[in-house]
Symmetry: C2
């Protein structure tokens, strides 16, 4: 845990209190495990503070349901039923984009990703969420499915107090430059190296 | 995400299915963020699979309550009330060790840590949990509050199918050697570098 002391005091005309509340652009990148897992862990923490959480999964197939989705649906129920935590929305690329007018197809991932980003952009303009998890969004950026300049400009210029967490390998340098908090997950050792495969409860 | 292919097929006499189900020792280390957050994210996933989750916080003050604890208490309620997910126990060093006969003091962290480890050891022998999160347990190991050889031997020889996740900076080499999955979280950039301090919902 970083301690509460800062290394530099910037000359930006803000008080410490003002600076403390600047909303963040965050990136979890690298080839190791834990990028998405830590992002969902942060979303859990945000939920607990009553934040409006929006999760947008950009690459996983809509048929692939991860445990976190089930958990956040339960948390959303708790919010609605018992008034604890915040509201949660969970959207998946493809059939999962609930605002898409057509059924998703497996074939047109590029179009799906562009639609997903367009929706995130609308929501940022409307200040719909307090925390956006753009899971595996580095790949649509890498593959040219969304425009990197558009993404970076939109994130930099987003209104209000909206936090954004982007996950995925090989984060674009322009995204890293725009981000406030960037962590690289580095694989030191993995059980697959000794012939183990993915396991329920651990990998999904 | 690692793909499903393995890099080597070990000559250990196990089938792929047997090997797939070997329980893991996992370590999240490094100076970056996300070590504990990813561990709690994994615990959330395990909960969703119905696993019995035990969280043991080894360093945070018992007075310091993190959002994840509240969330897991809610998940434990969901399990008891609606039968979803698995049971959750959350224990904190100091006053929080529920098996401790005396009230915790701020002064005797070494004894608290040793007591906590002794309890984890008993639980491992009894196969009480499916996933143990030993949060910030690298520090008691580093500071000599627990015996490194004892920890490593106990973890290596634990019975049944019990998963263990250890978090914290500077994981001991013997722990890394014993572990199946080790990830290093590396700080690329942090908002504190430009004078921001910790924020509610992000840091806790």
């Amino acid at each position: 845990m970083p301690q509460g002391r800062t290394e530099v005091v910037p000359d930006d005309g803000l008080t410490t209190a003002q600076r403390r509340h600047l909303p963040l652009i965050m990136v979890n990148t690298g080839d190791g495990k834990g990028k998405s897992t830590a992002a969902f862990g942060m979303a859990m923490r945000a939920w607990n503070q009553g934040w409006r959480v929006g999760v947008f999964q950009f690459v996983k197939s809509a048929k692939w349901r991860i445990g976190e989705q089930t958990v956040f649906e339960q948390l959303a129920v708790l919010h609605e039923r018992d008034g604890v935590g915040g509201p949660v929305e969970w959207h998946k690329m493809g059939a999962g984009w609930s605002w898409s007018r057509r059924p998703g197809t497996e074939d047109d991932h590029a179009r799906d990703a562009a639609e997903g980003w367009a929706e995130v952009k609308r929501r940022l303009a409307q200040e719909r969420h307090d925390l956006y998890v753009l899971d595996e969004f580095t790949y649509p950026m890498e593959w040219g499915w969304v425009d990197v300049d558009d993404v970076v400009t939109t994130l930099r210029e987003r209104p209000g107090r909206q936090y954004v967490m982007v996950t995925g390998r090989r984060a674009h340098p322009a995204l890293v430059e725009a981000a406030d908090l960037v962590t690289e997950m580095v694989k030191v050792k993995h059980q697959m190296d000794r012939g183990q495969k993915g396991q329920r409860g651990i990998e999904w």
